[in-house]
Amino acid sequence: MALDATTALAGGPMTPAGGGTLRRLARRRSTIAFLMTLPLIAVIAGLVAYPAGYAIYLATLNRRMTGFIGLGNFEILLESETFRMVIWQSCFFAVTAVILKALFGFWLASMLHHIPTKGQRIWRGMLLLPWVVPPALSTLGWWWMFDPSYSSINWVLTAIGGPAIPWLGEPWWARVSVILVNVWAGTPFFMIMYLAALKSVPDQLYEAAAIDGATGWQGLRYVTLPMMRNIISITVLFSLIVTFANYDIVRVLTNGGPRDLTHVFASYAFQVGILSGNIPRGAAVSLFMFPILAGIAFFVLRGVTQRNKEMA
């Protein structure tokens, strides 16, 4: 842009003829820009890039961190029955929870979109509450609701003639409970994203479809979903990352139990690395998440870039 002109205008008096290249350099745009981004670069380099490299180094050490054992930690993990369970449980948990969140979120968003705009605010306000409460704290509430002898959910179930459920005591129910809490906490995010996307679909498209004789279902299938495709995939992929790496809910609700059957990567890494003090192996557990996360991140990035191109 008109930077040279600016320097002449603004900095004119301050630039004596022999001002020196150093001062000119300091006034150059790219130098200023670099200085402005320096704190950001420091955060990314020092607290993300360096720890990432350090994690790889840590994962190749033995328990006492005195010797190099190569891929030993990874091999031991893959041979352990518990860890294979963790892989399976993490994937099962993330995929099921994200699918349910996406479906409920879409359902609620379209219901909200249906009612008059005036009333949407209050409903949106109420339905977003689970997302606002810090998950570790709301999970405490769920933990109490799942309590084996005083479960308020079981009270409701027995009141309507259902069975009492051993929520956190039996492995499969414990898995269901973890998913349930995650879906409860995460659905509002999907709802808000999808509502924003629904609002951005122009009404003329629906009118045109209606004139062509489209039913409501066809309108959804051929107008709404294609228009929202990008937002849907970005939201799903993003949530997949967050859910896959979830820690709070498992830690508070089951702490991995019963018999380590509800551990996900994060809680198992915590258990092995921090609580049992085997830092290298804990780092290795976390690193197992990396390829999956990187794969998802690649698709998110592609989706966002595509979207920017469409909007530009």
Partner: protein, 300 residues
């Protein structure tokens, strides 16, 4: 909506019946919508509601439930007063406030400066850096907490809230920078040109034009930074084991759970008190909150 649907029937009387059924269809759709929303609201609000009910109960009422546990028969504020007069709990609150305020301030300075540079000053590597910011945002805290544990330990900051102040920016800075890039990029270029012609330097341009114009974005980013630092759980759980340095989340989860002594009322009261600040911010600034939430995918 229904008014525009009724109009064609004046022109084409034969369509009347079909329009009528259309209107009925609309009404059913509306009823379905309200039923779904009521059910969803009950499910969504039940846990916080039950937490509130429990927090108002005495331990005696909790341990001897008569009839439904969903109502409170003998409400008491004893759980709240006990917590508020407990120096340990006040300490959790205080730690959370210190850490959050510092992290929000640091985050906003870092991300506004960087976003301004990335949105307006094309320089060598700026595109790569912007992509890097987005990728860092996708890195979950549970991926790197073990090396960070070692690093924080190496700096002798384990069991100290300053260690948290050091690492929390990894949670907040990438997203805040990312949405601020979006907000800054949407400001028309003519504004900066006018400022440049009037002799403003880059710093003046940022403080006099960009920050005021992008204020909604700055509020949204601030709310985000506040929410994530207040709710952060993995880092404090890993780094802090001394109660006097704990922030609220881990303090409530680890210190208020006392075996099987029916301290449920106090535990729920503690969780609700700890959840209060973000809920209050949300109640007053819902639109900014939602703008920040959706900005990640719709802007930038």
């Amino acid at each position: 909506m229904s008014a525009s649907a009724a109009r064609p029937s004046d022109v084409l009387p034969g369509l009347g019946r079909k329009i009528g059924s259309l209107r009925q269809e609309r009404r059913w759709a509306l009823i379905t919508a309200y039923i779904s929303l009521v059910v969803a609201a009950i499910v969504m609000l039940a846990p916080p509601f039950y937490m509130l009910i429990t927090s108002l109960k005495t331990s005696a009422e909790i341990s001897n439930p008569v009839g439904t546990p969903w109502i409170v028969r003998d409400p008491t504020l004893a759980n709240y007063t006990a917590l508020i007069s407990d120096p340990m709990f006040r300490g959790f609150f205080w730690n959370s406030i210190i850490v959050t305020v510092l992290v929000v301030a640091v985050t906003m300075v870092i991300s506004v400066l960087a976003a301004f540079a990335l949105a307006r000053m094309k320089f060598f590597g700026s595109q790569v850096l912007a992509t890097g910011v987005f990728l860092t945002y996708l890195v979950p805290d549970t991926l790197l907490f073990i090396p960070l544990y070692q690093i924080v330990g190496g700096l002798d900051l384990l069991n100290s809230k300053w260690g948290l102040v050091l690492v929390y920016p990894t949670l907040s800075v990438p997203f805040c920078t990312w949405i601020m890039i979006g907000y800054f990029a949407s400001i028309p270029k003519e504004l900066d040109e006018a400022a440049l012609i009037d002799g403003a330097n880059w710093m003046q341009m940022l403080t006099k034009i960009f920050i005021p114009v992008a204020l909604p974005g700055i509020i949204a980013a601030t709310i985000f930074a506040f929410t994530v630092s207040w709710a952060a759980f993995v880092y404090p759980t890993a780094f802090i084991t001394r109660p006097d340095e704990m922030p609220l989340t881990i303090g409530v989860v680890s210190q208020l759970i006392r075996g099987d002594t029916f301290a449920w009322g106090q535990l729920m009261a503690g969780a609700l008190l700890a959840a209060m600040p973000p809920v209050i911010v949300y109640a007053f600034l819902m639109d900014y909150y939602i703008a920040g939430l959706t900005a990640g995918a719709t802007k930038g």
